[in-house]
Amino acid sequence: MADPIHQFEIHNLVPLGSIGGHEIAFTNSALYMAIVVVGIAALLVGGSSARALVPGRMQSVAELSYEFVADTINSTAGKEGMKFFPFVFSIFMFVLVANVVGLIPYTFTVTSHIIITAALALLVFLTVLVYGFYKHGLHFFNLFVPKGIPIYILPLIVFIEVLSFLSRPISHSVRLFANMLAGHITLKVFASFITLLGGLGIFGIFGATLPLAMVVALTALEILVAFLQAYVFAILTCIYLNDAIHPGH
């Protein structure tokens, strides 16, 4: 049976030397990140180069993605959130394109590694912290002190609020990572059932149509999950940024 974990292995493509005993290399993960970034840039530069009044295909996709992210930010973080548009748009497009590229057979899924999703989630978390303290100073701590709570349970509530706040980057990163990892492993396992059953003669070939149908259905589901997880990642980024913009709410 094919190893379902094999697809997530990191290989060094171009060794770049070592820093402090750690090997630094251009890996397949870095290659696919570069592919994702180049793909996004090509889409957006190509989409905005025509500047037609009636958009063509590329321009439509670029405009749709812009409007989708702009609507998401406006509905969750309001007008003031629009100053974070480049940040949210970059994150959304990176996650979306990385998820979709990973669905192509024989490719590497960048977002199936927790180090990538954790880095993105921590970037959001630290942005919220830095911007919150920059904008509101110590009033940012109001986020942890809900109003209208009796004073004798306030310390407990503050503890819980702080823990809830600290758990954000974890749930933010684990959700995307776990969904991508589990989806790809499931696909691989069901696909390997096809070859295993197919080797059992005529009945095996009939039997193999069942996992084949499953793989087709799972692929459709994975495409949905790829879009949905990028959307969830973006909308949570907006919700967290909203706390930095208006910590009183």
């Binding site: 109001n142 986020l143 942890f144 002190v145 809900p146 109003k147 209208g148 407990l156 503890f159 819980i160 609020e161 823990l163 809830s164 706040f165 600290l166 758990s167 954000r168 974890i170 749930s171 684990v174 959700r175 776990a178 969904n179 879009f227 949905l228 997880q229 959307y231 969830v232 909308i235 949570l236 706390d243 910590p247 009183g248 709410h249």
Partner: protein
Amino acid sequence: MAADTGDDSGNGNRSAEEAALSARLKRLGERLDQHKGPSRPAEAPSGSKSDPSALARGFRLSTELVAGVLVGAFIGWALDKWLGTSPWGMIVFLLLGFAAGVINVMRAAGVSSGPGITR
């Protein structure tokens, strides 16, 4: 209806007329509701099925609780290791983390609003 009304009985007749009018309005409203009734439930599920935010909210719920518990457990474990208070830090912070996880889930589900309900 208004043909046999005299000036002297106008007051009582007008109230009867209003009653008839309100009854007709009520019947019309009922018929409108009946007319709308079957179409509205048929529309609502298809609208909510294609709504990405509902699916997105569903995906959010799965990890919110786990994240709260994990953070609580980690902080408790770290405090125990640092202060040597094992196992009390773990017990207290695991419970607090569970509470934080439940709050996360409630917020993700939209049951409770965000931190700090009023300014």
